[in-house]
Symmetry: C2
Subunit: 167 residues, 2 copies
DNA sequence: CTAAACTTTCAATACTTTCTGAAAGTTTAT
DNA sequence: ATAAACTTTCAGAAAGTATTGAAAGTTTAG
């Protein structure tokens, strides 16, 4: 396989992965492109490489910046804005974890806490509900703590511990 | 908050969470309903509780069974099929991890391995590409191992280790 | 200030996914 | 065998999401 094919395949695959990770296809593709590029790219570069419109490029670059995994670069003597991606895969993973925690875990935790306060009447349904909610809440809280630890962890410390777990 | 409100809110929230977890809203809602129900429910029960069509109910129950988190129950003396959900939250988490590994991690790993074999020419682009792919592949493999460990782990052992990690 | 260079917005459109409901298929009881 | 009870399928409708491209907005150079 040649470099250009390989590049296309990776961009494509990263786009698909994006869709299962709360990004969308285009966000994933732009991110892949920036990750493998040795130098920052402009909106036009991205439009051209991925054959997408200006509006699409602009919106998705913005969304990637909201996620905190892409940032602007000012190139000296250039008027255009250029963009680069976080390349340290660990920093990237932590950033994604941070965002997903905020977007997914926090809302459900809030609901579980609320709902855990609900009055129980004496029906079977109501008792089972209470029991399940308690377990879910407990699990969600543990997950939240674990995630927090991961987000704050230094790479080596984390891997050392994880590697121990995996023998 | 009363039980019936609380129930609706939980079902709603679990539906939203489903969407970020590779299920869809209805799958999430059906799953929530089955989780909190003290007894198995029929397709009709589900249709009624969630106000959805027969086709929709059928397809999404099926999808949940494919994921391995919902199963059929035959009630003695009843002709209808009833369904129940896995209620052990740990078993549930492991099952979801297993499916997502298969659906997300395996495909990207395959691509990374393929693409890692690509020929490098002497250009900057090509060298950077190779370097990034190597790092991604390494990370993906480590994640795969970690996930495998989790999937196979006994609850207490896993939590003991994790709790140590979290001090 | 003005014009060129560049970025952002957004209404219209294209595309994708989900849902419905009725028809077809299957199973069970008699 | 047949009819009632139940399940599955699937084409079309509805809802949701992504994309375009042109117009509006902003910044910079001179």
């Amino acid at each position: 396989m040649k470099y250009t094919e390989a590049k296309q395949e990776l961009i494509q695959a990263w786009g698909n992965l994006g869709s299962s990770w709360g990004l969308n296809k285009t966000m994933g593709q732009i991110h892949a492109l920036l990750m493998i590029s040795p130098k920052p790219l402009s909106t036009e570069d991205i439009m051209e490489e991925l054959s997408i419109s200006r509006g699409n490029a602009n919106m998705n670059i913005r969304a990637l910046m909201d996620w905190g995994i892409v940032s602007k670069v000012a190139l000296p003597g250039e008027r255009k804005e250029y963009f680069k991606s976080e390349k340290d895969i660990w920093a990237l993973a932590r950033q994604v974890a941070r965002e997903r925690r905020k977007r997914e875990l926090e809302p459900i935790l809030k609901v579980l806490k609320e709902v855990n306060e609900a009055q129980t009447d004496s029906s079977d349904e109501s008792k089972e509900f209470k029991k399940v909610v308690k377990e879910l809440k407990n699990f969600a809280e543990k997950s939240d703590n674990l995630l927090e630890t991961f987000i704050k962890a230094e790479e080596s410390w984390f891997w050392n511990t994880v590697l121990k777990m995996m023998k």
